[in-house]
Symmetry: C3
Subunit: 402 residues, 3 copies
């Protein structure tokens, strides 16, 4: 018998004989040594809310690496490789002390930069302990978040500031979350079970707002999204922006500007169309190739205490499978693409131009890093650490129709 | 050290040093492009009960392919590749409309043959939409079942009729299920977690009825099965039949004829030994290499509402693990062979002749398809679409003892 | 783009750019044909408590092999390859008879040495049945345990006796368990989810007792373990021993001698520091590369009925995840090394000398077996089957300080 069965050409669009499909590995593989993983490792990433980092060590997974995060008794956050360098026991079971974390098995004590301070079962509590070093990563805290840098130390940039997050008014407070809030609108998921690229694609896609969130199963955010906007995409500020102009009654229009910054940072304007600059920033942080968490920071009125979105009057976590089918939101649209979408099957069209610009920029910067350069958006000068955020809802008199 | 540890010859049948075992991949691999998968793709397969196909899309998996099944508002069943051709979101979250199904993400609308009718975020709702086609498969409905054809369109045969399912009497109705009913006798399992071949082997094996169902742990079906029959196996009607003759009291005998039709179709006579032609037909439809569903169609008295078998007085789904051990049935015998049996370890004997005939026919027809031919049992002439079913329990005066 | 992204040297102990880590496959792979698997197959291993082996067949997995264990109606334990040699159905669903076990599917009957006694669907109940043999392994019972030998029959050693388990006093009884008791101190786990080597490493490591069990989160066993002992490691009796001397008040000292015998046998002295020879023996039996069970036999006062350890006043199985973090024990220290530790990352120090001796002996004996020889500790002479166990807590007047 021949090894290969006879294949017939696919006719009339039949599903028979369609070619195997592939994911875009270049943009979805995030582990150590992968091209995109190395690009992502040149930026700071928020990995946890500061208040969740205590004397009880917690497991975190970032860019495919399992790590342990804790706060020592002097208040310093530490991010260490979890396997104790001595015999490999997890520091998840370590005990916090003033100077660091102590392994439960044989008591080796490490500080937040991995220095070994004590080996209690060795002579003189470890005559050679200075030669030992537990692998570690730098962390810094800002806006209520713990940021980590997983790249080469000599390439560590300044942790950026964002102009829209500075200057908190007296009646405001900072709200933050690191979770699946961005895809479900509630606190159901700690981790989102699909590629970071699928959420990243979503942000420069103003058209899905018109369908998924407005006309498919009712208004999810605000009625104004039902109006199909006039959209312009453009590169700006080491990222991509769109301007979506909607004509309102009474001769006015609103220009909704949204922005995405390299490599995974976004600022979406207020979804109730409140006037002015966006109040928040978020980051889509890969956990591994097929999972991510999204960190949000947002200025809020004091005491607001966060919020949750509803679909058909219910929060996402309380809906049945049939309700998820009948009232799908971002989670269903993106999880429906699979753990890692099969990009070879995509048919991108005019309305997908924002995504094409994002991916082209990511690909180009992956190449820059692979060639030994520094990617756009990293800054080594503390004096230039403030990033200007363009995003917002801007109202004005209608211009002449284009 | 040498790479290979010293091995000793297996002595006295010891389990030490036995060779690695293999599955028969030729007959158990069912995915696209596999030899058996291509053979199976030349026939129609029932994939769901018609009444289960509604305006709420459902996931089905057939021959290793994940698909979405729905009924449009005009009543047409549709079977589409689930990933929307635009950006890959699952049509499981699609919305049914009169003309087809609409993707939740950007609203592309497809009919049951995959034609793209609308792209609402594009100019003129998609000036090039006619060039787009969502991959689809043909479906037809009969006997309360939705049948699908997953092969090349130019080789699509006529959907067969079965003579024993035609001419429903006024007091009869058609009962059907697509589930694990055939292995458990109840409605516990939606999908059966082992290879289709294991159930397929079971049907031309009249001897297991004598042991498993009659003498091992008591009578499961009917006392008459306790009699060891005189069995004859033969090829017939593009399949394999057996005739099992049992001598009864009073000088009578019963000839139980069971038949299996290429490639996965069977008609088992009434298991309470009711006289006459079999009332039903079933299909063992592979879900993937290690899972299947069995579709049953059976004429029943009106209002009978289906039935469930019991073992030791309990339905399968209510038994404990120990009860399954002490009162095993088809599920235990077949699941006990593993997700995919290790056929290299089999020792087939005289009583396994039916299985040998089935496998030989399958292998031969796999070769026919691989060589570009049409396998037996497919029919392209609507005038010849009726299949005669031989199966039944036939009573008569005992012939002279052989 | 170049295939490899630029890599930077790891600096300041950063976790960036650390090399991939490996397990020690030589000592952790236990399946058929692996070097360590072949070494382990030259010894008897306890696989179940005798009382758990009944007329209801049970599944056991040992050294990567799935088997079925039962007791025939004459009281003989049998250990067979589970897939019936006829058509592969599991003998887990077999029925026990006087002479052996009968397969549920077609009724083949096998004795405890795999001989086929009946093939009821064949002529004359199997004219060729003597040629059939179900793969089997030898078993013997002692100390309330079923021991199995999975190696080549011609190399089967005598099942050893242990001097400390002989001569049960009239007020004593034998207590045994085959479970995760040795790692959790209670009966929560039937199987322990990490490599046998991790528990094996633990026994010649007297220093972890000082940290993990005594000073890290309070005294788990006995206060005396808080004293850091003077430890000497040495090869003895086809294994490794340590002597740990602690200076007590009043000019006395206690010498705690613990021993490990090839390849996975250990006798730990009474953990409440009771004087005299150890009362028990235990075996760390690999289930597969990343799971094991530990068999314990121990002399106990009659009616004691076993015991359970507590951590912070609770048994292991009733503790929360946070309590496991704050009061870790052997399970956390060893499971924290992962399913199979990454040995290439270890940094063994002076206090790990016992482990180094054990591993060296294992490696050497693996080589002996690979070269065709017999490893140490196997005995073919029934007259020499008694093993002397050195372990115990021995009190005496303090010697001059070293």
């Amino acid at each position: 018998m021949s090894d290969q069965p006879t294949r017939f050409p696919s006719r009339e669009g039949s599903a028979y004989g369609r070619p195997p499909a592939q994911s875009n590995k270049l943009l979805t593989e995030v582990g150590p040594g992968t091209p995109c993983g190395e690009l992502l490792r040149r930026y700071w990433h928020p990995i946890a809310a500061s208040k969740s980092v205590t004397d009880l060590p917690r497991k975190v997974k970032v860019l495919g690496e399992e790590l342990v995060l804790f706060r020592d008794a002097k208040g310093r956050a530490g991010l260490l490789y979890p396997r104790c360098m001595h015999r490999g026991t997890s520091l998840f079971y370590g005990k916090i002390e003033a100077e660091g974390i102590r392994c439960c098995y044989h008591g080796w004590l490490f500080d937040v930069q991995g220095r070994c301070l004590e080996q209690p079962c060795e002579l003189e509590r470890g005559r050679h302990r200075d030669a030992a070093r537990q692998p570690w990563y730098p962390v810094e805290e800002r806006y209520g978040l713990v940021f980590a840098y997983l790249g080469p130390l000599e390439k560590k940039p300044v942790l950026p500031l964002y102009d829209n997050l500075e200057n908190l008014a007296p009646d405001q407070e900072m709200w933050c979350t690191v979770s699946g809030f961005g895809s479900t609108g509630d606190d159901s998921l700690d981790v989102v079970p699909y590629s970071w690229l699928q959420m990243n694609d979503n942000v420069m896609d103003p058209f899905h707002v018109h369908v998924l969130h407005s006309t498919f199963s009712g208004v999810q955010f605000h009625e104004q999204f039902s109006l199909l906007p006039q959209v312009d995409f453009f590169y700006a500020d080491h990222g991509v922006c769109y301007s979506a102009v909607r004509q309102l009654e009474g001769g006015r229009e609103v220009d909704r500007i949204s922005s995405w910054l390299m490599p995974n940072i976004m600022s979406v304007p207020d979804i109730r169309f409140k006037e002015g600059q966006s109040d928040g920033v978020s980051w889509v942080v890969p956990v591994d190739d097929s999972h991510y968490v999204q960190a949000f920071v947002m200025k809020m009125p004091k005491g607001a205490g966060g919020f949750a979105l509803t679909l058909n009057g219910k929060t996402w976590g309380t809906m049945t499978e049939e309700e998820h089918q009948r009232f799908p939101g971002d989670f269903e649209a993106q999880a429906g693409q699979g753990p890692i979408s099969l990009h070879s099957e995509e048919h991108l069209v005019t309305s997908d131009r924002g995504i094409m610009l994002q991916r082209k920029l990511l690909e180009k910067q992956i190449e820059v890093v692979a060639q030994g350069g520094d990617p756009v958006g990293v800054c080594f000068d503390p004096a230039k650490a403030v990033v200007k955020v363009r995003s917002g809802n801007f109202y004005r008199a209608a211009r002449a129709a284009g």
